[in-house]
């Protein structure tokens, strides 16, 4: 299913991630999933929040450059080859490129993991997931 991701531009310096987390804590927003990709100079913190719109507001208020993007999330079986067979292969077969993804386990149910990813064609990717009935 479609899910909102909040991403934040963050300089690769000590205390910056802390500042993001503090803004969220102040507004009592909880993080479901978090991934940070980085270069030597800067990073992009990507987050799935329980309240993305309020999260965006809180971060903006603290002066962060931030944005919301639609992502797809999928529940996959927590077994070897789970990600490969439920997401990677079907997407490749449909000619969909995944720009990035991250995963988390727990909270989702036993023997289940959750992946969040950004396909280059969200409509098409959503169709693929539906046909496989992993779209959660």
């Amino acid at each position: 299913m479609r899910i909102k991701q909040v991403s934040v531009f963050v300089e690769n310096e000590s205390g910056r991630l802390e500042a993001i987390l503090e803004a969220l804590q102040r507004e009592k927003i909880s993080i479901r999933a978090l991934s940070v990709s980085d270069t030597a100079e800067f990073g992009i913190a990507r987050m799935i929040l329980d309240n993305p719109d309020e999260g965006l507001k809180a971060l903006r208020q603290d002066g962060f450059t931030t944005r919301i993007d639609w992502m797809l999330s999928a529940q996959i079986p927590d077994v070897p080859g789970g990600l490969l067979n439920s997401v990677a292969k079907p997407m490749a077969k449909a000619g969909i490129n995944i720009k990035y993804f991250y995963a988390f386990i727990g909270q989702v149910g036993e023997n289940k993991a959750m992946v969040v990813f950004k396909p280059d064609d969200i409509e098409k990717a959503e169709e693929v997931l539906k046909s496989l009935s992993v779209g959660s």
Binding site: E11, R16, E41, F42, I44, T66, D69, K99, K118
Partner: protein, 434 residues
């Protein structure tokens, strides 16, 4: 040769009398005819009647490049547009070009000061003068052209560029004087060398070079490689173009055409006039310009003035080579970098905010200067995809390279990382201050 001994060797008291007469006329003119000056005079609480001695000049307000921009295109004119016969322009460093109209009288005055300039540099009517300054809106081309013709020299109007043809003509037509920028003189040398030609073997004997800052080392280099005497010439579009000052063959400062241009050196911070000999910003008031006279124009060029008569017999004040700019031009690895150029690159990229900081790292004695540009990442350019962010960085880097001519590192920073200041932003810092 002294072309106009009456003016060029005038005893200073007489010269100052002439300057005062002309100043009074110009001040009255701009006050009566140019709303910008009338307003500026009123703000300073000064009227034309307050100008009774040359020392009263300091009562008048300054004019800056900004005023040209704000009054673009014709707002500073003191005659109706119909009386103008020509426009020249300089690109300026920000936004709108600077427009300078000339009456027929101005064109004549200019040709005369340029003839004087060329004569001072050592040109005669028997010379074959190849003018490789660009023809067009730039004042260099037509300024030198008209002056050389007025002097009676044979002019080859090659304009700039097409270097191989320049060298061919220089050889075949027996060019004796080249007029161009110092850096182009070196390009001529290199190209000639590549063509198997040694310029020292040609009839070329003199270069009248200017329109960009250059050093004594560069002069020595040019003189050695081209086998010529290299003479420094100075001028500004806002004031007239080339023709403001030039060296004589003694090469001990540039003689200012003081019967046309009244000069001062000021402290660029306080605006106070400085005594002779002290380094300060050159300020020029035109004494004879008709279409667009300028009062106390701040050139931003740092010079010093020397009133001692020269060995050549001229009594006009000499100005030193321009040793720097009082505005925020940076010299990084020998290349002039204007913060405004950086700003224009940033503004060309959609969504980028003009909040930037230029960090120059000169602390390594054995390493060349590093230029780093901090750019704040606004929501307009922020992407959740790393590839796009790196693409932005790459794009800015390559745009900077092509505009600045030197490589700069781009550092993307969080909003408000860069200190905001009231008024003029601090755009440049040295690494050691961080």
């Amino acid at each position: 040769m002294i072309r106009d001994p009456e003016h060029e060797t005038m005893p200073r008291p007489e010269l100052e009398k002439l300057q005062l007469e002309r100043l009074k006329v110009k001040v009255r003119e701009v006050y009566d005819r140019v709303p910008f000056y009338r307003r500026a005079f009123k703000e300073k609480g000064v009227t034309p009647d307050d100008i009774q001695t040359l020392a009263d000049l300091t009562k008048l307000p300054f004019t800056s490049k900004l005023d040209f921009r704000d009054n673009y295109p014709y707002g500073l004119m003191a005659v109706p547009l119909e009386q103008a016969v020509r426009i020249h322009s300089s690109s300026g460093t920000t936004g709108k070009p600077i427009i300078v109209p000339y009456t027929q009288g101005d064109v004549d005055t200019w040709a005369e000061v340029m003839a004087r300039t060329l004569a001072t540099a050592g040109t005669t009517k028997d010379d074959v003068l190849q003018n490789a300054y660009g023809y067009g809106l730039f004042t260099g081309g037509l300024g030198f052209h008209d002056g050389a013709e007025r002097l009676g020299a044979l002019v080859i109007p090659t304009s700039s560029g097409n270097t191989k043809r320049q060298i061919l003509l220089l050889q075949d037509l027996g060019t004796t004087v080249i007029t161009c920028t110092p850096s182009y003189a070196l390009i001529l040398h290199e190209t000639a060398r590549d063509m198997g030609i040694d310029l020292r073997d040609t009839r070329l004997r003199l270069g009248v070079l200017g329109a960009e800052p250059w050093s004594e080392q560069m002069r020595e280099d040019i003189e050695e490689r081209l086998g010529i005497m290299a003479i420094n010439v100075y001028g500004l579009t806002e004031v007239i173009g080339p023709g403001v000052s030039v060296e004589c063959p003694h090469k001990c400062g540039m003689h200012i055409a003081e019967d046309h241009f009244l000069v001062e050196a000021i402290d660029p911070e306080t605006g106070e006039q400085l005594p002779y000999g002290e380094a300060g910003e050159l300020v020029v008031t035109t004494l004879t310009k008709e279409a667009q006279p300028v009062i106390r124009f701040r050139t931003r060029d740092i010079i010093s003035l020397n009133p001692e008569p020269c060995e050549c017999g001229r009594t006009m004040v000499r100005m030193s080579r321009v040793t720097g700019r009082s505005d925020d031009m940076l010299i990084v690895r020998g290349v002039n970098v204007f913060p405004s150029q950086i700003e224009s690159v940033l503004l060309d990229v959609e969504g980028v905010e003009p909040h930037y900081l230029i960090v120059v790292d000169r602390q390594h004695a054995f390493k060349s200067d590093e230029l780093e540009i901090w750019v704040e990442v606004s929501e307009g350019v922020f992407s959740d995809e790393m590839q796009k962010m790196e693409g932005l960085e790459k794009r800015l880097r390559s745009e900077m390279d092509s505009v600045l001519g030197i490589a700069a590192r781009i550092k993307l920073v969080e909003p408000r990382t860069i200190e905001r200041t009231e008024g003029k932003a601090k755009r440049v810092i040295d690494r050691s201050e961080l």
